[in-house]
Symmetry: C3
Subunit: 304 residues, 3 copies
């Protein structure tokens, strides 16, 4: 794995290997790069948790970091993403973490640059490290994915998480349910079955709520109305299976997707997801650097 | 001391202990964290000296730093300060330095988060490390605070410095005088006596000028008029006691609060204040980290 | 060399010494500061390559870095550049890298501050490290400068590169040709002879294209027209001498100054220039720190 741009380019074995490595890091494993190694974080959209989770992971691995803020870089002068990444490569950077508003921005990079591209979110497309931290959190809870029911609730259509998680969870043996407003259905995503909100809540081992963009819900519902119709209210939480857990990619709109009091309830793994995010990113970066060290351009590679 | 949010939560013994530690750092003491330790700087207002003074202090202590710029973070997406700080905590951060435009922003954090909160300025409220560096600079000059007269001149009402410094200086045995335009009087601050600008200058061992916000003075005075009526002119400097010193929290409006030529005169300690800022911040961070290491949630604690 | 603000303050011996040091770094020489040493990057204009090239160089030398973004600093509060730099000096910074939109911004600093000033671009004025990396790239190719013909093509008038490079290349024994639109002629620059675009291409060992600012060309030419009249088309590339190389300070406007397909052709040294930039900046910073360590204020110094 030299690049990580979408989950579908990872084999099941690679996914398991990354999760295993992340768990070892969580248990205290230390691993630092031997040589001085540069990584760049190139964020073209605001982000707190992904951005700083990556940066913490990089520092734990002993990397040297260049933080390139899209807004104050030469992109403003009309430079293409390709030329920016080539510049970072010329400067000596080994890997670039990129968040970009455009779907599949990475297609203009893969195969044309030597640096590793680690996707931290592309448009409404993919967010593979978010998917990996979701997987880590679920496996930590249930030991495996086989036979689990996971409901993904909310704006399925515009969610990077719904796309990545549903495909991979299905591949790993889980059953995925979708729920949410009619207008947020995504008929291009074949990896889940649509059910009512109450069915989703009652049947699931994992209730995963998606963030609603303010600009998308305000037209049709107030926050209260959304919560009542499609969100996790206190009443619905009582309908959950005894062992079932709550997840959310965050940032949470308290009182919209979920009752504010449930964000830190005993079922919630929301802050644990963020904690795990650092460890999966450590694993991903380590694999990318090691793969790069082993040899040249292995596009969407299979040797972890 | 786990958190440092206002000076009034520090005992006199704690203040002295911090000043002593800061002096040891200034004399060359070295102390670095043993384990990799993360600190975040979370600035929601522009700042040069406080922001970089903290960052220099953190680097001298060997900390790993996450610089979270309020403008490009998820706060833009409507996330609460509490959720942002919880996120940083989940990522593994031990302490967060915060500057925020809202008075007492920290009330929603203290007691609800595990990280240390170090206040780098809240609205028109508090700025404890500025107060500590003022104290360090005064003690360095006079050896103690007992019997000193300190005048604080300018916009008393909107100044974080006036609030913190006057209370603490009084507590430590100094006499505080206030001076400045009538409209900047602060009748809620009982720790100083209002006198005329010339009385303040003549009676003081320390003449501390406050920054005037452009938007506040422009309506009533030009820069020249302000300097003439309420500022430190060259004529007034001659009226100062022989040993008296000039202080200012900076950034200075040259020619408004103070004649530009006096900023670097032999009486001025303005750049020395900035120098000392790094050392008091080293001391504060060290105490916070050590207190946190010793045990759990010790709110506004007394063991330094 | 304590400061580096323009190339004309460097003797030929100093230039050669910097280039030699940069080559040693490129070949793998390691040198790190012994003591903890702070450097600040103070950028008032957007920049990717210069900004991150400096930062990579600083990290390779083991420096501690403060990145001061002009937009979010106290400059917004009306603080002068001098006061900002004095503040950084008080905080303990040893050198400041500055990019500023104003020509000769450094005149208000040199002789008044103790920190080293390293100019990363002033207005339409100077950009000495860009010049040094151009020199390094040319010398790497041809071994020396004596007898070479270098054409500088494009917006001569507004280019920091044209000003610095033409003077120094002439001093080092090269012949400089200028070419480009009539309105971009610079009659204050005596170090080059104006020729037609085709003459420049045919006669040169080095074809150096300058970036055209969008706002300047749009009024008179479309991108295609500019390329056809004054740019390096595929046809013109075939007219170049066999061994001749292509350079550009970047960011490149593909299809304006140069046909997009030529940016990475075998003659192009454009990304090599960026690579070399890190090494010349390492050399410059090392010399500045060492000169500062050796003694006080040596303005525009000669001991490298």
């Amino acid at each position: 794995m030299k690049h990580l741009v979408t989950m579908s380019t990872l084999s099941t074995e690679e996914i398991i290997a990354i999760l295993d490595e992340a768990e070892r890091f969580k248990k205290g494993k230390r691993w630092k790069v031997g040589e001085q190694t540069f990584i760049a974080n190139l964020f073209f959209e605001p982000s707190t948790r992904t951005r700083f989770s990556f940066e913490a992971a990089e520092k734990k691995l002993g990397l040297d970091i260049l933080n390139v803020d899209g807004a104050s870089s030469s992109i403003q002068k009309g430079e293409s993403l390709y030329d920016t990444v080539k510049t970072l490569e010329s400067i000596g950077v080994e890997a670039v973490v990129i968040r970009h508003p455009e779907d599949r921005y990475f297609d203009e990079l893969i195969g044309r640059v030597q640096v590793s591209i680690l996707n931290a979110g592309d448009g409404c497309g993919h967010h593979p490290t978010q998917c990996l931290l979701d997987l880590m959190t679920i496996r930590e809870e249930f030991g495996s994915f086989n036979g689990l029911t996971v409901s993904i609730i909310g704006d399925i259509r515009h969610s990077r998480v719904a796309r990545s998680d549903a495909e991979v969870l299905t591949r790993l043996g889980a059953t995925v349910l979708f729920s949410g407003p009619e207008k947020f259905r995504d008929d291009t995503n074949p990896y889940g079955t649509y059910v009512s909100i109450n069915e989703a809540i009652e049947m699931s081992d994992v209730v995963m709520l998606l963030r609603i963009q303010h600009e998308r819900h305000s037209e049709k519902w107030t926050a209260d109305q959304y919560l009542e119709q499609y969100g996790l209210t206190k009443e619905r939480e009582k309908m959950m299976k005894d062992h079932a857990i709550i997840m959310h990619p965050a940032p949470v709109n308290r009182g919209v997707e979920i009752d504010g009091d449930l964000v830190e309830c005993s079922r919630s793994r929301i802050f644990k997801q963020m904690e795990n995010g650092v460890f999966v990113r450590m694993a991903v970066i380590k694999h990318a650097i090691e793969s790069k060290a082993q040899g040249g351009e292995k596009k969407y590679v299979h040797s972890i």
